[in-house]
């Protein structure tokens, strides 16, 4: 469930986008700044490639700008991340073979973080990024949506067309996996 403050933010998002549609470019600039990092990180962590994430990031905002009334049946934030997720799924389908190979490679690295690397000051944040990449797609998606979009479990469930308990389970499994992989960093 979202708090009152979060609800207020969502209302402000919608008001900002409507103001933009009414001719205020500054309103869009404010809205863009608000989701600039979180949307980009969602794409980056999902894809693992900075350039691909930037491409999809641009496509995502282009789609938002093409629409006249994007969030008639929901919140702007949910709408934005739904577009991002759909773009990510499409993109991953197109490069499926390449992605599988890359995931295998990353998994080989991430599942066995060597104690030497940790002791040698290997960046735990980098290990975290790699561990997220090796998560199963649904678990990774759920974890990233929870962390980056700020949506509630119910909203994520709606966005992913799943039940709330399913989302909860995916989130729990994702955390267990990350904890296992990053045990030495915790």
């Amino acid at each position: 469930m979202t708090s009152a403050i979060e609800d207020g933010v969502e209302e402000a998002d919608e008001a900002l986008f409507r103001a933009y549609l009414g001719g205020e470019h500054a309103a869009f600039a404010t809205l863009y700044q608000r989701y600039r990092q979180s949307l980009f990180l969602y794409l980056l962590r999902s894809l693992g490639s900075h350039s691909e994430a930037e491409d999809l990031y641009h496509d995502c905002w282009s789609r938002v700008l093409q629409s006249d009334a994007p969030f008639q049946d929901g919140l702007f934030r949910a709408y934005l991340f739904k577009i991002a997720r759909n773009l990510t799924i499409d993109h991953q389908r197109k490069r499926s073979l390449r992605l599988v190979r890359a995931e295998d490679q990353l998994a080989g690295e991430a599942t066995a973080p060597s104690a030497d690397r940790v002791q040698a000051g290997v960046d735990c944040e980098e290990m975290m990024r790699q561990a997220i990449q090796q998560l199963p797609t649904e678990q990774r998606d759920t974890f990233l949506l929870k962390e980056e979009s700020g949506l509630s479990l119910e909203q994520i469930a709606t966005l992913m067309a799943s039940g709330r308990e399913t989302i909860k389970s995916r989130l729990r499994y994702a955390m267990q996996r990350l904890r296992t992989v990053l045990e030495e960093c915790l």
Binding site: G23, F28, Y32, L44, S62, M128
Partner: protein
């Protein structure tokens, strides 16, 4: 979930959030903001409309005004009694006699007017045949509302005459209603015009033989003797 698990989960999330350092490049930012600006310009019409938006409403208002004035002109030319009655009603509502009436009283009067049916309709109804003789005799002159209003207007002054009223003046003037007539006789009598008052009273009694006379003009009847042909 145990406390250890919760702690490690919090540490895990903290580690993840510490790594949130990447941003899209400024080139992408500027490209998206520029795209937003272009889309905004595309939404806004490039050239302003040549015809102002208020033109249709002005045209409609002009048609309405011309139509109403034409209808009023036609009504004036035809000189319908109904329209005369309406004009006199509206005139009498703004007469100097009622100017002294307070606004709430006017509102009450309007309410009564809305609630109670028109006197003409009441009198024209078949029930008027069952009225007692004095009531029926009182009702008779009230049926002619437009000429009565004209007489009232004449009493108020000749300064303002409606076109329809002017037309009505050329028609034969009907009798005053009984009360007004008696008031006029009383005024004549009190002014000293006894003979004229007697003549008027004689005519009145011919018209309304059973109408009860006020005490003020009873002596006039006595002085006139058998003016009504009765002792």
């Amino acid at each position: 979930m145990t406390d250890d698990e919760q702690l490690s989960q919090q540490q895990l999330l903290q580690l993840y959030r510490q790594g949130r350092k990447e941003y899209p490049s400024p080139e992408v930012d500027s490209a998206i903001l520029e795209l937003a600006r272009k889309r905004l310009q595309q939404r806004t019409p490039a050239s302003p409309r040549r015809t102002p938006r208020w033109t249709p409403s002005i045209a409609a208002a002009a048609v309405l005004v011309i139509g109403i004035s034409f209808t009023l002109k036609l009504q004036q030319q035809s000189g319908e009694p109904e329209s005369l009655g309406e004009e006199v009603k509206s005139f009498s509502s703004s007469s100097p006699q009622e100017d002294g009436v307070s606004a709430p009283a006017k509102a009450k009067k309007a309410e009564r007017g809305a609630a109670v049916p028109e006197p003409q309709q009441q009198l024209l109804a078949p029930e008027s045949d069952h009225l007692p003789a004095p009531a029926a005799s009182m009702a008779q002159p009230r049926m002619q509302s437009a000429p009565m209003a004209e007489m009232e207007l004449r009493d108020q002054g000749e300064g303002f005459t409606l076109p329809a009223v002017r037309e009505q003046k050329q028609r034969p003037i009907p009798r005053l209603k009984a009360e007004s007539w008696l008031a006029e006789i009383e005024a004549l009598y009190s002014a000293g015009a006894v003979v004229e008052a007697q003549q008027q009273l004689a005519r009145f009694l011919l018209q309304y033989p059973d109408y009860p006379l006020p005490e003020a003009i009873q002596p006039l009847r006595m002085e006139g003797g058998a003016v009504d042909g009765r002792p």
